[in-house]
């Protein structure tokens, strides 16, 4: 209908429809939708369901994942492991004086070089691999192929994890970057689960948590992290 005849057509619709629409300018039905509140039984029921699903979801996770998740919030989980979530606010270290300090017994620190990394080498990245002492002389790829578990530290001030030798480590590191962390230190030593380092312009914040780690140990690791 290309002209305004529709005005007459619509004008002739059932008056009850028109009256209802007029009433809607008051407070009933449609306009009361604005004031509709989520209260009473419905609210309680939804919250209860959400809590049940959340708790149930956590319980369904496998022990390791659950421990890692709960470790973010609780000091000691159901398995009896002592969990420490150390925000690092007490161990903000000077950006110029951080050093890799924590090396488990039987392991050594080996810095990855351009020879190791080839095309993967990026001068912005300090890649340190903590390897078994006997494997210090192996190339990066030999290390990657030789064994898991392995300990990888990737620190990228650009806020990216370029790559990781171990897929699990890489994925965890990548997820950490999505959460705003610039880098992640992964230890598969039983004492330590993971350490996150967060860079900003003037400080490095370190989050450390691990199975069986005491607060003093966590602080020690945080204070000793370097690049």
């Amino acid at each position: 209908m290309k002209n305004e005849k529709w005005i007459d057509v619509i004008g002739g619709i059932d008056p009850n429809l028109v009256e209802n629409a007029e009433k809607a300018s008051g407070n009933d039905a449609v306009s009361s939708r604005k004031a509709r509140k989520f209260t009473g039984f419905k609210r309680v029921a939804v919250i209860a369901v959400a809590v049940i699903l959340t708790v149930g979801g956590l319980l369904m996770l496998n022990a390791n994942v659950r421990a890692a998740v709960l470790g973010m919030f609780v000091y000691q989980d159901e398995a009896g492991y002592q969990r420490v979530h150390y925000e690092g606010s007490e161990a903000e270290v000077d950006i110029h004086s951080v050093s890799i300090g924590y090396i488990p017994e039987g392991f050594a620190a080996r810095e990855m070089t351009e020879d190791d990394l080839g095309e993967g080498y990026d001068s912005r990245i300090h890649q340190i691999r903590i390897v078994k002492e006997e494997d210090v002389g192996l190339s990066a790829y030999e290390l990657a192929n030789n064994y898991w578990p392995e300990i990888v530290i990737n620190i990228n001030r650009a806020g990216e994890i370029d790559w990781g030798y171990d897929r699990d480590a890489f994925e965890m590191a990548y997820e950490s970057t999505l959460n705003g962390m610039d880098a992640i230190i992964l230890h598969n030593d039983s004492e330590i689960e993971s350490t996150n380092i967060q860079f900003s312009d003037d400080k490095i914040t370190v989050n450390v948590w691990g199975i069986g780690m005491t607060m003093d140990e966590a602080v020690s690791v945080a204070e000793s992290i370097s690049w």
Binding site: M1, G11, I13, L17, A24, R33
Partner: protein, 121 residues
């Protein structure tokens, strides 16, 4: 009484708008006309306009009665009361985008309904 008075009021309002905009069509009516062009049929030659209009009005009414009350209100406020999208959104508490979507879908479904009735849209 309400139907009688509302129609009178509407016609008076339309006459006023037309007088004020005699040199050119009101932008509001152009917009509404374009929207209605999506779903109402072209003129059917040979049929008296009054009959055509009455038939269509009845069809639109029966169509609207199959819709949810909120959709009825939004449609009527737009095309009977000539409310703007903003006014309808404020009235109903819906977002403007939701009002537009509701109108679009209602027009689409109205078009489909009229086509089923044999109209060419």
């Amino acid at each position: 009484m309400f139907p009688f008075l509302s129609r009178i009021t509407r016609h008076i309002a339309l006459d006023l708008i037309r007088k004020r905009n005699s040199a050119k069509r009101s932008a509001v009516f152009c917009e509404l006309t374009d929207e209605m062009a999506e779903c109402l049929p072209a003129d059917i030659p040979g049929v008296e306009e009054a009959v055509e209009a009455e038939t269509l009005s009845a069809l639109i009414s029966s169509f609207l009665k199959t819709r949810h009350e909120e959709q009825q209100v939004v449609f009527v406020r737009r095309y009977w009361y000539f409310d703007s999208i903003e006014e309808i959104a404020k009235l109903t508490g819906f977002s403007k985008s939701k009002v537009k979507m509701m109108l679009s879908r209602t027009r689409r479904d109205l078009r489909d309904r009229l086509r089923k009735e044999g109209y060419t849209v």
